[in-house]
Symmetry: C2
Subunit: 188 residues, 2 copies
Amino acid sequence: MSPPASPFELKRAELTERLADLALRDGMSPFALRDLAAALATSDRMLLYYFTSKSELVRAVLRRISRRMAAALAGSALDRRLPPDRFLTQAWSLLTDPALAPYMGVWAEITALGARGEQPYREAARAGIVGWRNWVAERLDVAEGPHKAVLAAGVLTLLEGATLLELSLPGSTAGVRELFAEALAGAA
Amino acid sequence: MSPPASPFELKRAELTERLADLALRDGMSPFALRDLAAALATSDRMLLYYFTSKSELVRAVLRRISRRMAAALAGSALDRRLPPDRFLTQAWSLLTDPALAPYMGVWAEITALGARGEQPYREAARAGIVGWRNWVAERLDVAEGPHKAVLAAGVLTLLEGATLLELSLPGSTAGVRELFAEALAGAA
DNA sequence: AGAAAACTGTAGCGCATGCTACAAGATTCC
DNA sequence: GGAATCTTGTAGCATGCGCTACAGTTTTCT
């Protein structure tokens, strides 16, 4: 899919991979080049050699995480079209699953920092939202049209709100999934 | 409501007030003592004298903002009980109003930083969620009981998701308010 | 083999941060 | 009026940050 991949690019890719691990574990905030280098048993000098600047490094890591997340979602049980209420239930379970918690944590960081306009997070947040919306839309078993777009945006709104609330105060959305599954089933 | 208020406390309160203005305008991230001091025409030395440490300063500002927001909401048109669908519509308009955008921006920062476990944001996020939920519950014209709690949490989930999505990508929740207003009306 | 290019280690610059030491004014209280 | 306390300015410490200069080593190419 890409040119033969030079040793430089291979190494850079490997570093990006391991940096993504760290970001998913600890978040993006405590990203300091020296600390990252220590965790990877290299030097900050090396990181800058392969990424030229920190913001470029962050960009690469965000891209990597986004791709990983897309892969995780693609490989999940949610691989076919479902009516809105059933999709909501399934997606809700999926996104609040502990296995995806690291991703949602990073996503929370991105949206909040992006909401404040900070680069490169703003850009990442916008791209993420569009990606999420498409992901939802592709899995909704609903006739194409404006209504479907609104439905997708609505489901996304719920999922976004729920993951953030659950991250901050676990249990604070108990029963909400069922509430809206019923509401959506009724509206269909 | 409190002891006579020493000059010290008065000055501290005034500083907190003006710091809250800055936080609402620029967010919490670029909070550096020297910059804040310059903006207030004082010195970082003074800020530390009145707040003893930066984290205490942040805590004071967050409290102040929370109180202001509560006051703004209490003084809004949303002062009586409404059925869920109508409340949702009204609250949605209120919270996405440009006048409240600064508050929602800070709130986004709090939730995201809190989701990552950073103090004092985590604490502030939890308190905020509980406050929001109570605010919603007090205005829902619904019979007391478990269903009301779920309903309040559901409305909160929608509002939380919508404000974040709108901050990151304005227009991304077009039509969603009406969608759920109908759904909630139907479920009642 | 020798030149050129790619890679990596060491050291440190310049800047920003939260915070402190110290002392000088200002205010209060007897 | 003088002592004690409250308030404020100046200067600077210690640390951490992103990043760079420079030199040395390794690899690649002809």
